[in-house]
């Protein structure tokens, strides 16, 4: 058992009360050295796929190397999980020394130690399980999805995926903040490389840069946070940090301590695409769809959630820190849901839904249920990966078509049955359909929010419920449009190569120049894609199990795992029965209103997008006809002009500053400094011209003279003044 200590309750008159848990001291476990292999397998894969890149291998070899490596890592993670169980104590596995600096004197002794070591607790395992598991599955899917690029970018793609898994595992397994930062930057690099995979397409290259640059802002926050942690606690190793935290005061600290959670959350908001740094994620959809599924839905974007869960104790350093996280999450959830409702590109709809669901996770962290946040991360990883992979299958089959107005009734198109029905499951889970895993995990968060009394958490709960209705609407807007209704489809723009290659066997009657819609034959997914879709669907069902157990008040592995990690310390325990709204306690409230929101949203979507599709256009026309409200659809379709706002406020000034600097550089720096001050060395050079004129005697004289000067000076200074040498 973990020793429980209760400290001064920051929520004094709230029915919920803060319980601060001492974090168990990690056991050094050299016998677990094989956990290093979890990192080594993807690293080998990086090298091998890199070699495939260099040797221009024209087969699916790099894909299968990656799959094998990731499967190996996953197997080891499973072994570790079964070895330790849900509630094992944290362990530190020292792989090798990395840096260890110490300086100063007796009064002030500083040291900075960061080794390449692994810190494994339940939180790490929780993340590792779905990162490596989903990574393996999505890599299998990608071996088929990317097959058009075999011999071209195939090896480069899998190289990026391997880099990503390596960096992500480093991020969650690191035993210190610097190694974690290395992983953090590594996943950023992999994300950049993979978003810009189609680098010849300007939009993809620009999206890659945008993701990289926006993430830099967050990373700056994280870097400052790490520095502040080191300044305040004198260590950056998690275990030492937690032990210092256990022993030291845990209350509100001084300004520099209070700043730590805010710096860390800035990093988390950047990586996890929260307000105000979410703008990169929708554009990141320019990358290949398996990448969107793996990196930009299931795993990398949850790194922010992991960061906050890992450093959760530090978020008690300022009373408003967690509330800030909660509110940013809640506002992001509803804000991006409004955008998601009005997009026509269904991959973007899913991207905005990812931002929105990440908002829920941050809300969960903020209101004090790290279990809810982590559990929602898990369910979301599965159903969102499922949704993206189905979207990918549709893109793959319809030559990159993503416009939900140009596809309809796919469930009746041969070969797309599995895609349609797995997508339905994904949409049901996303819209929190009663008793689906998505609903169970979301409810944990909403119940916790509605039972809070401080910081307006109750309002946050209501925002969450409203967002749930919007989510159900836009999820089913996609499914009813794309998969239901009459059969109708138009291929996308990438048809030419793929189409011709696919129809070579059609013989004389096939006209290779024609790519009109009635000539187009969709390219149905084969076993790798379908199989992965089915497995992930089963996984999505399975993620519901902890939720059912939680609902019935039983302890479950997800709960136990969170309770035995640093994420639990400082977490608020739910006491939900007291808070009453509409005569119901939060549990009943969420059950009733959540169900209503989900079913209501689906019903509205059904009316507008299945039964009366014309009325959706009529509604839009009606809204646009009224000047007082026409801004609503316009703003939503244009993503609230946030990109334009940033363009005006950040890019514009930066562009102007750039030009001013260029002007300065050209006329002031080059003109005055280089040609002016720069003349000083030149002038000095001219002064010393005899020294550097290339004439041997000159050099010899100068060198001998220099030596003589030194000797003369030393003789004068020490030997004639009588001071003992």
């Amino acid at each position: 058992m973990i020793p429980m200590l209760s400290i001064t309750d920051t929520h004094a008159d709230s029915p919920a009360h803060a319980v601060v848990t001492a974090i168990v001291n990690a056991i050094p476990s050299p016998e677990l050295g094989w956990t290093g292999l979890i990192l080594l397998f993807p690293a080998i894969s990086v090298v091998l796929t890199g070699l495939c890149c260099a040797l221009r291998v024209k087969s699916k070899l790099p894909g299968w190397i990656t799959v094998l490596a990731l499967a190996g890592s996953f197997a080891l993670v499973l072994k570790l999980y079964f070895l330790r169980g849900d509630a094992g104590a944290p362990v530190v596995v020292h792989l090798w020394d990395w840096m260890n600096f110490s300086w100063g004197n007796q009064d002030k002794w500083h040291s900075l130690q960061a080794d390449v070591s692994v810190y494994v607790d339940s939180l790490t395992l929780f993340w590792l399980l779905f990162v490596t598991g989903l990574g393996t599955l999505i890599a299998i899917y990608a071996t088929e999805y990317m097959e058009a690029d075999v011999g071209k970018g195939y090896a480069r793609f899998f190289n990026g995926v391997s880099i990503f898994i390596l960096a992500m595992c480093t991020l969650v397994m690191a035993d210190n903040l610097i190694l974690m930062y290395l992983g953090w930057e590594g996943v950023g690099l992999a994300s950049y490389l993979l978003i810009g995979y189609y680098y010849k397409k300007p939009a993809a290259a620009a999206a890659g840069q945008k993701a990289f640059i926006v993430n830099r802002i967050g990373d700056l926050g994280l870097a400052v946070g790490i520095w502040l942690i080191w300044v305040n606690y004198g260590t950056i190793e998690f275990n030492t940090l937690f032990q210092v935290w256990n022993d030291a005061d845990r209350g509100v600290g001084g300004f520099d301590k209070a700043l730590i959670p805010y710096c860390l959350m800035l990093g988390a908001f950047g990586k996890s695409a929260q307000l105000p740094l979410y703008v990169w994620l929708p554009d990141a959809m320019e990358g290949p769809t398996p990448v969107s599924a793996l990196i930009h839905a299931a795993t990398m974007v949850t790194a922010g959630v992991y960061l906050i869960a890992r450093t959760y104790p530090l978020f008690t350093l300022h009373p408003d820190a967690l509330a800030t996280v909660a509110w940013v999450g809640g506002l992001t959830a509803i804000f991006s849901a409004t955008i998601g409702m009005a997009q026509y590109d269904f991959k973007r709809v899913f991207a905005y839904s990812t931002i929105s669901q990440l908002g829920y996770m941050f809300m969960g962290l903020g209101v004090g249920t790290t279990f809810g946040a982590a559990y929602h991360t898990l369910t979301h990883a599965f159903f969102k990966a499922l949704l993206f992979l189905t979207a990918g299958a549709i893109m793959h089959g319809f030559a990159g078509q993503l416009d939900l107005r140009k596809l309809s009734g796919l469930r009746k198109v041969p070969g797309f049955k599995i895609v349609s029905w797995t997508m339905l499951i994904g949409c049901l889970w996303l819209s929190a359909f009663p008793y689906s895993a998505g609903m169970l995990s979301k409810d944990v968060i909403l119940v916790q929010a509605l039972s809070g009394k401080d910081h307006g958490f109750v309002w946050l709960g209501w925002i969450g419920l409203i967002t749930a209705a919007m989510t159900a609407y836009y999820a089913f807007r996609v499914w009813f449009r794309v998969c239901a209704g009459p059969v109708f489809y138009m291929p996308g723009e990438e048809s030419h190569d793929d189409h011709d290659a696919h129809h070579d066997d059609h013989g004389a009657h096939a006209d290779p120049t024609s790519t009109t819609s009635h000539e187009f034959h969709p390219h149905a997914p084969r076993w790798a894609m379908n199989g992965v879709l089915l497995i992930i669907m089963l996984g999505a069902f399975a993620t519901g199990i902890p939720g059912y157990m939680e609902m019935r008040g039983e302890s479950n592995w997800a709960q136990v795992m969170m309770a035995h990690s640093s994420a639990f310390a400082g977490s608020v325990q739910a006491h939900v029965t007291d808070a009453v709204n509409f005569g119901m306690n939060p549990h009943q409230l969420v059950e009733v209103f959540g169900t209503a929101a989900s079913l209501g949203g689906i019903a509205i979507a059904m009316y507008f997008h299945l039964l009366q599709r014309k009325s959706a256009d009529k509604l839009r026309a009606w809204l646009l006809a009224h000047n007082s409200i026409r801004w609503i659809p316009v703003a939503m379709e244009n993503k609230w002009y946030v990109d334009e706002f940033y363009h005006a406020c950040v890019r514009g000034p930066a562009w102007i500053a750039g030009h001013i600097l260029h002007f300065t550089d050209k006329h002031v720096v080059d003109g005055l400094m280089v040609n002016g001050i720069g003349r000083i060395p030149a002038a000095l050079g001219r002064l010393f011209q005899p020294l550097y004129n290339g004439v041997l005697q000159g050099y010899a004289t100068t060198m001998a003279g220099g030596a003589a000067l030194v000797v003369a000076w030393v003789v004068y200074r020490w030997l004639t003044s009588g001071v003992g040498a």
């Binding site: 300086w103 390449v116 010899a700 060198m703 003279g705 220099g706 000067l709 030194v710």
Partner: protein, 548 residues
């Protein structure tokens, strides 16, 4: 004191050098063969020789045996030799395909027949191995004669290598300059040796150490000895390319072929630093330098020598960086950069054993590897059979040869000290050693210099990748052999990856300190004040050497 050291153990300790020497003889003969295959195998043979020597060190070297054979700093000796050999293999790789390029082309085209009188490849690699052999002999020197001969064995072959590296007049002019100025520097330190002999009456370093310790006990090292030491330091400065003996570097580096420039900027430098460490060991850093609780420096080098080194360090780094700022030739720029890096490394010599030497060794590794990355990339390019040496010629080559531009950028970033590359950690260790030894002002000068150097290193990153290809970069093509590029690639990867494993490499140098000669029972007293031994022990505890 005259101590007779039996010949057997001494020769056993010298096995690595003997292997390298044997290799040089073999290579010089095989280079004259009529068979093209045999001639082409010369670099391979040279590399294998170095590898064999490395194996001899790895499995046949023990600190105890070396100490018994009269080596004063056995561990230092081993590490320096290992670094020289490993980097030496890289230097052999980057020079493949360079020497006799025209002659071999002509023979291949059938324009001429093979004439043993007109080829120099065998000699070139033989001299290369001899120079490496000389450098390896330095850190184990037991006396001044040995040290002198080893230093000359390092230098003399390099003069010829510069001359034969390419057939131009500039190379020969550079060789002549290098030789005459080198001879003068030799005269300076030889005079220093004579004065030291005059002061102490011995050529044995261990005896000199004892006599100096006696003199310190009686109020300070005498005039003769101090002047001798300072002249030696100044003479060694020529090998380091440190002020005031640095003038030759830009001209000579520019005149020599690219791979030879790479050789010149590393092997003589590491030889010079090893010689400096061996020489200064006679006056000692008093066990270790450190800061007492009151903040004063205790122990350390004798004041005049400390002041000289301090000045050399500050001057060298500053002059090197200022000189590099506006160079149009990459090689002149790298020559100045090499000068400034010597300045940084003198700081490590000042900091002394423990953290300082650790920083010095790490810096030498970092500098050697980075140098290989840059010169590997440069030697892998050619323009109409000639070396590529100006920034203009490199302009925009990243579009055609992204790999080579990347090696240049990685190398340049490492020289600049950009995290997380190798050079950053080297500089960090160096600066920390400097601060711990109480030379914060010098560290600040070094840090400022480091900031200034970003200016010109960024050009080496930017010009190949960002600038548009110009007229002078059009004719730049890949060189005939892919070995230089391969060596550059390996070095670049090491620059990126080594920081992760750095502690493994220097792990056993944590307890590194020059071992006192067994015959010298007396500890060398501190020079500025008498410090009780207990206090020293306590200090050692606080200034525990850290590992990277």
């Amino acid at each position: 004191m005259s101590s007779f050291i039996p010949m057997g153990p001494k020769i056993a300790v010298l096995t690595p050098e003997i292997i390298v020497f044997g290799g040089s003889v073999l290579v010089s003969i095989i280079g004259l063969s009529r068979s093209k295959t045999l001639r082409n195998s010369v670099p391979l043979l040279a590399a294998l020789t170095l590898l064999a020597s490395l194996v001899a060190i790895a499995f046949g070297y023990s600190n105890e045996a070396a100490e018994q054979a009269g080596v004063l700093m056995p561990h230092f000796n081993k590490i320096i030799k290992t670094i020289i050999l490993v980097i030496g293999i890289g230097l052999v790789a980057i020079s493949v395909g360079h020497i006799d390029r025209r002659m071999e082309d002509a023979v291949a085209r059938g324009a001429t027949t093979f004439d043993p009188m007109r080829v120099v490849r065998g000699e070139f690699y033989a001299f290369m191995l001899l120079s490496i052999c000389g450098a390896m002999l330095i850190p184990g020197s037991p006396d001044l004669i040995w040290l002198f001969l080893a230093l000359e064995l390092t230098s003399l072959p390099t003069y010829i290598m510069v001359a034969m590296s390419r057939g131009t007049r500039r190379a020969q002019e550079a060789a002549v300059k290098y030789f005459f100025l080198g001879a003068m520097s030799t005269a300076i330190f030889l005079y220093g040796f004579a004065l030291i002999y005059g002061s102490t009456g011995s050529l044995q370093l261990s005896t000199i150490r004892e006599v100096f310790a006696d003199q310190v006990g009686r109020g300070g090292i005498d005039t003769l000895g101090t002047t001798g030491l300072i002249l030696c330091i100044l003479g060694f400065c020529y090998k380091l390319a440190a002020a005031p003996m640095h003038f030759y570097a830009p001209d000579v580096y520019e005149g020599a072929a690219n791979p030879v420039t790479g050789f010149l900027s590393f092997i003589p430098k590491i030889a010079g630093f090893a010689a400096l460490a061996v020489l200064l060991n006679t006056v000692g850093w008093s066990g270790h330098a450190g800061i007492s609780e009151t903040g004063t420096v205790i122990g350390g080098l004798p004041a005049p020598i400390l002041a000289t080194l301090w000045m050399i360090s500050a001057l060298t780094m500053t002059l090197g960086n200022i000189g590099a700022l506006l160079q149009k030739s990459v090689k002149r720029m790298l020559a100045y950069s090499s000068i400034s890096h010597s300045g940084y490394m003198v700081l490590a010599i000042i900091a002394g054993p423990g953290l300082g030497f650790e920083a010095l060794l790490f810096y030498l590794i970092s500098y050697g590897v980075t140098n290989l990355a840059i010169f590997g990339a440069l030697s892998g390019l050619q323009k109409r059979g000639e070396d590529v040496e100006s920034f203009e010629e490199l302009s925009g080559i990243g579009r055609r040869y992204p790999g080579l531009a990347a090696w240049l950028a990685i190398g340049s970033g490492s020289l600049m000290g950009m995290p997380p590359l190798l050079g950053f950690w080297a500089k960090l260790m160096l600066f920390m050693a400097g601060v711990q030894a109480g030379h914060t002002p010098l560290v600040i000068i070094a840090a400022l210099n480091s900031a200034v150097s970003v200016w010109y290193y960024l050009r080496l990153i930017g010009v190949p990748t960002l600038s548009p290809p110009g007229t002078s970069s059009e004719g730049v093509l890949k060189g005939p052999s892919s070995w230089p590029r391969f060596a550059g690639a390996v070095a670049a990867f090491v620059v990126i990856l080594l920081p992760l494993f750095a502690s493994r490499i220097l792990g056993n140098s944590a307890e590194f300190a020059p071992v006192r000669p067994a015959s010298s029972a007396k500890p060398v007293p501190t020079t500025t004040q008498e410090t009780p031994r207990e206090e020293n022990a306590q200090l050692a505890l606080h200034c525990s050497p850290t590992r990277l």
